[in-house]
Amino acid sequence: MTLLDQIRIATPHRLETRSLILLSLALVLFLLPLLQVVSDGYNYVLHVLMVIFMYIAMASGWNIIGGYAGYTSLGHPVFFALGAYFSGVLLVYRGWSPFWTAPIAGLVATLFGFAFGLVALRTRGPAFVISTIALLLLAQLILDNWEWVGGSNGLSLPMIGWPYRFYKIPFYYGMLLTALLAIWVSYRIRHSKLGLFLRAIAMDETKAEVAGIDTRMCKVIAFAISAFFAGVCGALWGYQQTYLRPTIFLTIGAAADLVLINLVGGRGTVAGPVLGAALRVGLDELVVNQVGSTELNITVTGLLMVLIVLFFPGGIVGALRERRHLPRLLDWD
């Protein structure tokens, strides 16, 4: 909804159809694990959905700094790893369950994001991008050589004690909640002054500064918030992988994934990362499982991307909006 609508429509309808549909979708997702309880065989479905939720949470979080404020961060895997290691170490050395240390891991990531942001967000454009790459690689170097957390050999975690049939379910709910929180936060920010300021920063930072916006604070806050979700996801993901290793988390590829999801879905929009994440994971599973495995998979993925860029600039949401075909259901901006 644009600012204008806020003026025109006195009070937005609280329970319009769109909200109803989205709410029922959320409800369905909440009830889905019942399937696995009733009859075995849905663990894979839950697993795939869980991965989608994870990407939704991380990509939506990333979008706050990378989309709204236009600061492309390739350093988010660091927060992911930070969360994973924080909860992982507590699990290994203290036996504390990541399910309740995950939010703390998120806060730790936030704190770290804040500190790093204070320094790195002084740079702009490509320089910022590279400073986040530097962060990524430095973090990898440190973890690789820090024996207490397993060094480059990694840290293996005890498995969750649940029976195999049900062991996905807690992870599923953990990721689902994180994803919903991320979407909500992203939505709130998009519609707040902070969101407006961040988008102004993305366009012309000097102008924003002169308009009276404390651009540095806005950026750092946005960066810290976006780190939170990566941290929580890392904590949960590490636990379900049972194995933490620097090179699994800290890759440029993992960072590029977040960027791609946003670009494909529609950077700077609320729905973009959600769509992008679902597509990324969904298509991936489909291609790997249906098309079979050849080197040409990569080529197909590449081609697909080229086509998206050529014909859907602004991502799916952006392109649809441009053509005025964006369904109200997906117009969360």
Binding site: T72, V119, A120, R122, T123, R124, G125, P126, A127, V129, I130, S131, I133, A134, L137, L138, L141, D144, N145, T206, I252, G253, A256, L260, L263, T294, E295, L296, N297, I298, T299, V300, T301, G302, L303, L304, M305, V306, I308, V309, L310, P313
Partner: protein
């Protein structure tokens, strides 16, 4: 112990190779604001061509530079016409090119994998493992040739861009496309030319890569990260900066590597990067945007 001078020689030799590899990347960004993530993929493609030229036709990689250069130049022009022309005038142009070339890189990687499998290759001309020995010092021949080629190409490029009418048109197009059109520049042709040059340098680097470092289709990701850091350190789009950045970083990392161990040599890299970005966010030779 190895002397400091020997380490310096090794560092410069490595840096010269890096520089050549990164020049094209810097050029396409500097001139067209295209961040070509497929640059290293084309380099690897060039390496394959040079490798097969040696294996099948017995053409020395240093000679295949003369084939790869023009070939990739033409390839670049064709690609530019097909892929990048439609992007012109997009609001987030650089980003679009980044994504597009990411896709392109994947595409090439897949095709290379399908054609030549994922097995690593390395051409083995006689000079690849030879050194020129001067008393107690030695200069690795392969790297030396590569560095020489790199400097030659750089000087030619720089002269072309600064001193010729066409070169000026390339720079003008980079800075303001509409303005270039207004003064009569056929911007699409000029951009294609610049992109072609960047690609030609990728092809040439490929020839050198083929005998200096083992390669396989997926290897280009590693290269592109290294090259990107160099380019940023030197200042995005600054050719001189790229070369100086490459030489400095290579030397620094080689020093650290021999003093503290190879584990920390990438750390120098990033520490230097961090430092530079904090002090001069625009890179060593970059211009500050207000």
């Amino acid at each position: 112990m190895t002397s400091g001078l020997q380490i310096l020689i090794l560092g410069l030799a490595l840096g010269g190779v890096y520089a050549l590899m990164a020049i094209g990347l810097s050029l396409t960004y500097g001139v067209m604001r295209i961040l070509n993530l497929a640059h290293a993929a084309f380099m690897v493609l060039g390496a394959y061509l040079a490798y097969w030229a040696l294996q099948i036709l017995h053409i020395d990689p240093l000679v295949s530079i003369l084939i790869n250069g023009p070939l990739f130049f033409i390839l670049g022009i064709v690609l530019y016409r097909i892929l990048f022309v439609p992007l012109a005038g997009r609001s987030r142009y650089t980003e679009a090119t980044l994504l597009l070339s990411f896709g392109l890189a994947l595409g090439i990687e897949g095709i290379m994998g399908a054609m030549w499998t994922g097995i690593y290759r390395l051409a083995n001309p006689s000079y690849a493992t030879r050194s020129l020995v001067f008393g107690s010092f030695y200069i690795p021949e392969g790297q030396m040739y590569a560095t020489a080629a790199s400097l030659g190409i750089l000087i030619a490029l720089w002269g072309f861009l600064q001193k010729t009418r066409l070169g000026r048109a390339i720079r003008a197009t980079m800075q303001n496309r509409t303005a270039a059109q207004i003064v009569g520049v056929h911007v699409e042709r000029i951009s294609a030319l610049a992109f072609g040059l960047g690609m030609a340098s990728a092809g040439v680097s490929g020839s050198l890569l083929s005998f200096l470092f083992p390669f396989f289709p997926g290897k280009h990701w590693q290269w592109i990260s290294i090259l990107l850091s160099l380019v940023v350190l030197g200042g995005m789009g600054s050719l001189i900066g790229t070369v100086v950045g490459a030489l400095m970083l290579a030397v620094a990392s080689v020093y650290v590597s021999s003093a503290l161990g190879p584990t920390w040599s990438p750390a120098t890299f990033y520490a230097a990067l961090f430092l530079v970005l904090m002090i001069r966010p625009q890179g060593l030779f970059g211009k500050r945007e207000v």
